[in-house]
Symmetry: C2
Subunit: 157 residues, 2 copies
Amino acid sequence: MEERSAREEPAGAGSPELRLWVRLLRCAKIGEKQLRRNFEDQFDTTLPRFDVMAALHREPDGMSMGRLSKALLVSNGNVTSIVRQLHTQGLVLSQPDPQDGRSAIVSLTEEGERQFKQLAEAHHRWIADIFRDVPPARIDQLVDGLGEVRRLLGDKT
Amino acid sequence: MEERSAREEPAGAGSPELRLWVRLLRCAKIGEKQLRRNFEDQFDTTLPRFDVMAALHREPDGMSMGRLSKALLVSNGNVTSIVRQLHTQGLVLSQPDPQDGRSAIVSLTEEGERQFKQLAEAHHRWIADIFRDVPPARIDQLVDGLGEVRRLLGDKT
DNA sequence: TCATTTTGCTTTAGGCCTAAAGCAAAATGA
DNA sequence: TCATTTTGCTTTAGGCCTAAAGCAAAATGA
């Protein structure tokens, strides 16, 4: 009852663009898995918490929940719960926005800043270790390639 | 109290390998977001369920839960719950493994196969649409680049 | 002014995901 | 043979994540 030949192509990995996407996703998944484990084992924290801290570190004056949510590409509700945990741990500070009574400005506390630096250093070390044998010029090539993909995906940043 | 100059580098986006990784993760996140929404809106399903179905489609004779979990890079417990849902929907069949009483062989039902084909076709269309303006040679280049990254990440496939 | 709409955020229900504990079958080895 | 260990899977607790509902403040506009 086959339609054309004895063996149909999987039709999945067949097309180049599909292979590109599948491979991209797989790289992200493998890398995330390693990072999650490292953050958990060595610092008892998570990648999403690190992401929030990294975003706040870039804005010493703090950010609203909404801006945080847009920067990280996650929902408002999600930011609410991650920030709450960081707050419980004393790593972030939440101050009412003088301009807008609905909003609060979140920023890293000194302790948060201190911890972030340690996390960021380890994070960089882990990543650098993965690419240690790749020539810088090749890395830049890959960065450019992903820049192109990001543009095609319509990143709004 | 700065150590070297008036303005320290963010040290984040600074190094090429970190930019590579951040960009990779961001591409994956943006793309996943779009796919998740498409699967939800148009087929009332999810990317993880599609992934399981795709893996089963590739193995017409079925796979054990363990193999499924390794193929998808997720935990056993996670596969248990996703397969249970597909089973509830009548999309997969679970048969005791004659060789091993602890294990069961999961496979797509006819209905599962039928639905998968529709999902796969739409999935391919969405991806192809993203890369429609990219010359095939360029796509292959990007595929190769990600193949290199995947190897560096130590993919066991 | 002030009713209506919009906006920023939180809560809730529910799916995805993991690590760890637990269970039963299979494998091991004395 | 049979106690012990290993293996395949499920369950549980708990974090991440979203969409949708809900709330209150801000913005709008007649």
